[in-house]
Amino acid sequence: MSTLLSLQDVWVEYGDKIVLEKVNLDIEAGSFVSIIGPSGAGKSSLLRVVLGQEVPTRGTILLDGTPLTPECGPDRGVVFQRYSVFPHLSALRNTMFGLECEKAPLSARLFGGARKAATAEATEMLNAVGLGDSMHLYPAQMSGGMQQRLAIAQALIKRPRILLLDEPFGALDPGIRADMHALITRLWRDYALTIIMVTHDIKEAFTLGTRVLALDKRRHDPHAPHRFGATAVYDLPLRDRRDGTADEDLIIALSGPQAGANQQIDKEGIGHG
């Protein structure tokens, strides 16, 4: 499979504090990369660099072989843990936003036939994430899970080359989280997405990902802990999930019988969505 995103010798430093050092990564098209690591290991910094929200201090990032512009753009979609939908727009208008920006540079609003087409496309996208019945609700009227579904629909309508997820399910309760896992897996398959997801939840990282990256510091200076940055200390390719089989055995093997019991609870909680 071809390399879609390539990080070459990427360093991120804030003043004399080194967050990421010498990160070299190749991410293949169609992969689902989970990034885990302790707090402060630069998971979110890595995501921000790929997103273009931050410029790396050193190193290059190539998307399809061309260097990334140091600015966010429609080739990279994102879903944050919170605040990624617009509170003043209904679900439908939130989803149409990306289409309106593209086709109406001046007014950012569509009229007539173009509006109808955009509405149809947005409706289809909302149906795909299971929000077909809630198109006219405002985000404040939705539960946390519905808001994250909306954020995903909003991002996917632009058909981004890469979808970046920054702890997207961290604020959701377990039953709804299991629903969201099923949803994102289905979307990843149906739309042939390339996904990079930062998460705290190791089980989530292994259930969803085709590859798990663990970020941490390789070296540690007890007198100046900030002088060494984190990098990918483990890079675990998992079984290709595209054949439809889940890696349930692997997860249970990796995280012990306790996790298996938790998963049982999650499944019982699915109905609460």
């Binding site: 966010c72 753009g73 944050f80 919170r82 936003f97 981004p160």
Partner: protein
């Protein structure tokens, strides 16, 4: 039961809210009656009867000099100045606030200037305005604008700049330009805040209006109050002040209604 947990029902709330007002009115009437018992000609605390008499002349009899009904001419002139001042201040607050809030380079350039203007006491500028703009309507409207616009600009700027970073990033990943972020993300979310800022500015706006009218004018609610003060005409001053209060409350309620009607998403629409 703790007092923090005692919630008052809607009907009782109106009752409780009007209680202090009724008590104050009663207190005034008692004091006025006492003074009138001692001196029937007392002008300091007029009874409702003499207020009605004093106001009737202004309400229904045309002024011999101008041919206008004085009370209504005053109201119209004041509301016009206030409306113009509020309108100009609101529009400029929206425009400048958006530019400053959304675009960091603009904020870095003009932020300090706005702050500097905001800390100048507007009344200190009144002589400059009268000298520069004459004693006409322009100076009075300008005083209101200068008095309230900087605070509103700072409020809108802060509100827009405090929009979650995630939203701005998300908009960019959806292909939005600076302009599109300004009109589709920042502007709609600034609007409820703007109406709120107008509500808070109503008080200061009235202060600047009355000040300007008191110093140089020939018509207006503030002018009338300061004119009849010379004759100790409390029977006119008190109804005028009450009328100003009624107008201010009506404007405030209208703004609340408008905000709820136009921006339901900003007023905690429930699940």
């Amino acid at each position: 039961m703790r007092w923090v947990n005692r919630h008052v029902r809607q009907g009782n709330r109106i009752l409780l809210g009007s209680l202090p007002i009724v008590l104050l009115v009663l207190l005034y009437l008692v004091l006025a009656a006492q003074r009138h018992a001692v001196n029937p000609m007392d002008k300091i605390l007029p009874l409702p009867g003499s207020m009605a008499e004093g106001m009737a002349a202004l309400l229904f009899q045309a002024d011999r000099l101008t041919g206008q009904l004085v009370f209504w001419a005053d109201t119209l002139a004041s509301l016009q100045r206030l409306g113009l001042g509020l309108g100009i201040a609101t529009l400029s607050a929206l425009l400048v606030g958006l530019l400053l809030g959304v675009l960091p380079p603009v904020r870095a350039t003009f932020g300090p200037l706005v702050t500097a203007i905001a800390v100048i006491p507007p009344i200190a500028l009144l002589p400059i305005l009268f000298i520069a703009l004459g004693l006409g309507e322009t100076a009075k409207v300008a005083l209101i604008v200068i008095g309230i616009a900087p605070v509103m600009v700072r409020d809108i700027t802060a509100h827009v700049a405090d929009l979650p970073r995630e939203q701005i990033v998300k908009a960019q990943t959806l292909g939005a330009s600076s302009w599109q972020i300004m009109i589709r993300v920042a502007l709609p979310q600034a609007m409820p805040r703007l109406l709120h800022a107008v509500r808070l500015s109503l008080g200061p706006a009235w202060v600047f209006l009355i000040s300007a009218e008191a110093i140089a004018s020939d018509v207006g609610l503030g002018y009338r109050i300061f004119l009849v003060r010379r004759y100790l005409s409390m029977d006119v001053i008190i109804p005028y002040v009450a009328w100003i209060a009624v107008l201010a409350i009506a404007m405030d309620l209208a703004l609340v209604f408008l905000s709820r009607r136009l921006f339901p998403w900003a007023h905690g629409v429930s699940h």
